[in-house]
Symmetry: C2
Subunit: 408 residues, 2 copies
């Protein structure tokens, strides 16, 4: 008998029929003797319906009232799911974030969880009840309703699991696990049985957006065993682990990519202390998020400085750089928004040399020119022309033998 | 400067546009320097939408989860109304029943208010804020969400007004006040400037369903000045008072009627102690609600016993009576569901003789046969054939000169 926290997203509970299907799944597991705490999101479409209502009343509504409004979405789901469980003779109790006292700070719309009172939940579990909790929401120290921001239900589930020292936190989604890369690009992409939390973080931020990053960080901090699995089909999903992998494992877990980036270069900047700060400071002040940053060794006392931004902020960043180039007496500014970033991710590369060279050779063999390179301990990323995205990802997937099933 | 509690029902807040109109009204009053607490219902249609969702999941959902579900309706409205007020530069704060701590007993679906913590509301008012409260809902001593039942928002408003010792509790509806009778039947029907709480209770229960009866009783208990007025047009509405009227006033305030009743008679029952209990006990045990009860002086040691029930329970009551007639050795059972009840209501009749005779003469003059008569201190009710409803109401409205404007 295990204590399991499960989380079902908006698509999984998007209609009364789907809620019944989820209830069926829960009733089955409950029947096997597991203690279950279930965190749910608003039914898909509901949040947008509420946002539309508020937009008709106020273009920029107050964050406090927006939280009061949006938090009704999950409240509807918890009630309906409990009803569906009760129909199956499973005793169930619903709680809003306020009721189970998920205490957060007072940053409406993106509050952070500070503590959870779990006594009530533990008592219900002891009585054999399934506890159903509204995700995404909490309450601040003054009793105001707060929300954790989009995707916050994952965080609620992880926080509940940490508080209850659950045996596992299961995140049910519309995919059946984490893949070596996007199966729409590489049909041979394989579901990973396990992935380390560090790898997961790199995969998430790079585009394999299965879980909200914050919930993965949170899970890592409290070592909550986290499993991603499908709400619609049976299967083991992918377990996110906190141990180093064994010796024999593959170096690389997956190939991630991101098509939302654009590249900007400022050329011939005087190579002096403080130049990087001057450039990035100006960009950050304009609230433009920067991803990769590369500065090469310069010559003639000047250097070239390149970074990537989200494509939607490309024009804005370019304007800032052009002004800056005049102030810094730089030679010129160039930019390109027809690029993609491709990364190989794996904790295995820590102890294995040669990942980067395998990567660069695979790309070179396909005639793909690399425009930028950036590395971390468990990741190597390159920027290439966007037309090479599919070709590059497939070449790397094959080069690292990710389509071959390996026992882990 | 007054402290006013206002309540807007579902129709008044049925769309973003209507919510804006309500906000406009509130902003205007707030600008005049009044302190305002506003209680709102769910947007019209919302409760039915939620009921439909639950019906798809469970035919007989648990009352606890039903309350969790339904209470989201008002929560949406409070958020939207606050946003609309903030757009008009009026500082506003929303509270759910749970947040303002409207403590109720634990009877889900028809909970009764036990207390309200008003400190937070008072602090907001002192800061010049408009306080917007979700009607219809509260929380029990264990923190479970409860609802007061349909129409409970009126009760919330009256309870808030009582707790805050408000100068007035204004109930905004789709009618502009309480009328001497239904204007659809008597075009000359007149809006009453004032009505006593006792009269209002008799009028409410008899079909002029402007306010939820419980909220009127509640208002009477705490002497909350209650005013019914239109959410859509300006006007003074009708003030519900607690004083006896002045000497010169009319004897009768209004003509009420009810078309939902049916009549049952058990004839030739042995006239013995306990017979009324035998009959009514059996009916009450079957959860059939009884309205009028008339027992005549009998002859030959037997008596006739007549009462009225809701038409929807006529068949059921008849079946019970037929069984009972055999047990009691009564002669026969007769019934009629083609009847209506017409009542004249007014505290003035306490001190004036002749109301009943004026009433009976007016009906006789129109050739209307009276089937049953029942009286209370401030009401005389008769049962007549349903075909005489309009004729009877008009005749009485004229006979008591209700179409003539009198200064009160």
């Amino acid at each position: 008998m295990s204590l399991i926290v499960q989380k079902y997203g908006g698509t999984s509970v998007g209609s009364p029929e789907k809620i019944e299907a989820v209830a069926e799944k829960i009733a089955h597991m409950h029947g096997q003797g597991h203690q279950l705490v279930v965190v749910v999101s608003a039914m898909s479409g509901e949040t947008n319906r509420l946002l539309k209502l508020s937009a008709e009343v106020h273009e920029q509504p107050s964050a406090r009232e927006m939280d009061v409004l949006l938090s009704t979405g999950e409240q509807v789901t918890i009630a309906l799911l409990c009803m569906a469980l009760q129909k199956r003779a499973v005793e169930a109790r619903s709680y809003t974030g306020q009721q189970v006292h998920i205490l957060t700070n007072n940053v409406h719309g993106k509050a952070r969880i500070q503590s959870i009172e779990a006594d009530r939940v533990r008592k219900d579990l002891a009585k054999g009840r399934v506890v159903v909790i509204a995700g995404f929401q909490g309450v601040d120290s003054e009793g105001n309703i707060t929300t954790l921001g989009r995707g916050g239900s994952d965080t609620t589930a992880v926080a509940m699991a940490a508080t209850l020292s659950a045996d596992e936190c299961q995140i049910y989604t519309d995919v059946d696990g984490v893949y070596t890369t996007d199966p729409r690009i590489v049909p041979e992409a394989r579901r990973l049985d396990r992935i380390t939390v560090e790898e997961m973080l790199e995969m998430s931020s790079l585009g394999a957006k299965v879980l909200q990053i914050r919930s993965v960080e949170f899970a890592g901090k409290y070592k909550v065993p986290l499993r991603v699995l499908s709400a619609f089909e049976d299967g083991p999903g992918t377990l996110i682990t906190y141990e180093e992998k064994e010796m024999e494992q593959a170096q690389i877990s997956g190939i991630a990519f991101n098509r939302d980036e654009a590249k900007l270069t400022i050329l011939g900047v005087p190579d002096q202390p403080g130049v990087a700060y001057n450039i990035l400071g100006a960009v950050a002040n304009a609230d433009v998020n920067v991803d990769m940053i590369v500065q090469n060794v310069g010559e003639d006392g000047t250097t070239n400085f390149t970074f990537t931004v989200h494509r939607s902020e490309f024009q804005q960043a370019q304007t800032i750089l052009q002004k800056l180039a005049r102030d810094l007496k730089a030679r010129e500014v160039s930019g390109d928004d027809k690029i993609v970033k491709i990364s190989v991710v794996g904790v295995g590369m820590r102890s294995h040399a040669g990942v980067a060279s395998t990567m660069f050779k695979a790309l070179a063999d396909e005639g793909i020119n690399i425009q930028m390179i950036s590395t971390s301990e468990i990741k190597v990323s390159v920027v290439v022309d966007e037309k090479y995205l599919e070709l590059g990802v497939r070449a790397l997937h094959t080069a690292f033998e990710l389509d071959q099933v390996v026992e882990k």
